[in-house]
Symmetry: C2
Subunit: 336 residues, 2 copies
DNA sequence: TTGTATGCGTTATCAC
DNA sequence: GTGATAACGCATACAA
């Protein structure tokens, strides 16, 4: 059985498609009586409106595309969740694409979304992405582009980023306030802006406290558990008594290294991680961490899309990070 | 500047829209030469195809909708990730809806997806959902429906579920094999089929080992950390020396209770959780858990959609669960 | 191998 | 308040 259309409803009611369309869209021009009749008939005939036809007629879809490297990463799934929540309330649908960190898939995702006539694109780039020509395609259409988390600053659009600098600053200052004096950092790869920003925050905190920046205590590796473990060992040999880690997993490795050396946490060694992964509060001792706010970031990105009237082609929104003070860095200030 | 259409390209090349359409769709009828000319011109004019128009013409969208309670839950985000991966390879786009565990939003999500002419819907129901009339709307259209994880068995469609029964059975048997003799369970709410199935697996394992099922050691609470803690205390007072928990967080609470009683894990008290949350392997002692396979489940659900030719209106796929043996349950078999 | 004609379902613009 | 008409962009049956 063919799906019922507004034309079918019109015929049944001796009306025209125009009137049925208006009735179904709650136009104030239609008589209340007719409106009710149409709605009843529509329900009766099992009518489902065809968004494709409607959108085709209107020129844009009530749809927003979101592009992320991986949907199943805590951070991104929370961003998506927050964005979906806002967009859904505003009457938008959400099309999802994951790039699996591949540039090629990112380009394809942009194309796909453009084909689908989305009203906007929220994107966080893949690791591989360095060229931005695929974004100009989007900019040249009338879609509203919002970059979040991993952004390119040379693109004229709205950007939503973590306040990495202040987050790292706060974390480092917290360690200083707890009386640690030789503070190192697991800094992450310098190819990524966010790690560079965190490193800057770390350095500034040391300098503001009149402490020296010792390059030997700055480790620019990838921040996984294994490297955290290895670098922390090196650091400990250099007399390091605390570390700020740009990631939680590397912080975990560092804790392990300290424990193996027979050091007590937080008395002999203090550590603060980044991201507030859910394991951090569940371990013993619990781990302090600078919390990202992905859900909030998603909401902000969605809001930025909704508010974007083109009047502000290049703006930036920062999402603050919050220090979760836990056992791994808390010396109860007795040694301050 | 208006977007270029196939008609525009046709005019430029002194062709007709039909030919351009065919060329762009790789029809073998079109001369290679024309094809190349069209492709060049399309690129030149910045042509982006309009999927809305194409789909309208064809009757269905190359789109699949996924409905989950919350996108940001580990389990669901992994399902989505797996499904997206398969669907993307097959040329489908993914529309995402989250219900936030509310029935009303689930109904709306179904409507939305139907309006969008999706080719299929993959759904895991909200906690609130008990009525299934909204699903019949989908079944009456020609969309292919796949339920996963939280499913209703009375719906004639494809279902993809965890093998809860065997998972719980394996977990419990593992505890028995490690010499525990008074094994309780944090079973979860019995309103949910998956918890009922896990309880059955637990019971069967005990019976198969010639052990008694003691109803006093079966706790049918919600499985959060707090209840795990409280119920484990009660269980310990009854001489319980191990527990299978239908969730990891309740297992965490149980571990805490045992520790507070001065019991050694795993020597005096053994525990196996469910879900293999990522904190389980990071704690000390690390926690054994029955691992769900959400990514695999997502892939299976997507495959089920792709394979669904309507010939098998009611089928079921089970995803096996894997026991991750860790310290919390491993007595090295010395007491067996 | 290409062109012609038509319609997918909806809505905007007139007209009445 | 409602109807008639056209158009959104594309794909297909049919003709040439």
């Amino acid at each position: 059985m063919r799906k019922a259309t507004i034309t079918d409803i019109a015929k049944e009611l001796n009306l025209t498609p125009s009137t049925v369309s208006r009735a179904l869209n709650g136009s104030s021009l239609v008589k209340q009586e007719t409106k009710e009749a149409v709605e009843a008939k529509a329900k009766d005939m099992g009518y489902v409106r065809n968004v494709m036809a409607s959108n085709l007629r209107k020129g844009v879809a009530q749809t927003v595309g979101i592009i992320v490297p991986r949907i199943n990463r805590q951070f991104f799934s929370n961003v998506i969740s927050g964005a979906e929540s806002v967009l859904n309330d505003a009457g938008y649908n959400v099309l999802i694409c994951q790039t699996e960190e591949r540039y090629e898939k990112e380009v394809y995702a942009i194309d796909t979304l453009l084909w689908n006539q989305v009203a906007g694109i929220l994107i966080s780039h893949s690791i591989e992405t360095s060229d931005t020509s695929h974004l100009s395609k989007a900019l040249n259409s009338n879609v509203r582009l919002v970059q979040f988390d991993r952004v390119f600053y040379n693109i004229p659009d709205v950007k939503v980023v973590n306040d990495n600098y202040h987050g790292a600053y706060t974390a480092t200052k917290h360690l200083i306030d707890n009386g640690y004096t030789r503070i190192g950092t697991l800094a992450g790869y310098m190819t990524s802006a966010q790690y560079r920003e965190r490193l800057e925050g770390y350095k500034r905190a040391l300098l503001d406290a009149g402490m020296e920046v010792d390059e030997r205590l700055i480790f620019k590796d990838t921040i996984i558990r294994e490297t955290g473990y290895a670098r922390a060992k090196e650091a400990l040999d250099l007399g390091c008594d605390a570390m700020y880690s740009a990631g939680d997993f590397s912080a975990l490795g560092a804790m392990q290294a300290a424990k193996e050396k027979g050091l007590k946490i937080p008395d002999d060694f203090g550590i603060v991680g980044t991201a507030n992964e859910n394991f951090t509060e569940l371990m013993t001792p619990s781990m302090s961490s600078i919390s990202l706010k992905p859900y909030q970031m998603g909401k902000a990105a969605a809001q930025a899309f909704l508010n974007d009237d083109g009047s502000n082609p290049d703006s930036m929104i920062t999402i603050e990070m919050e220090l979760m003070k836990r056992e791994s860095s808390n010396r109860h200030k007795e040694s301050k």
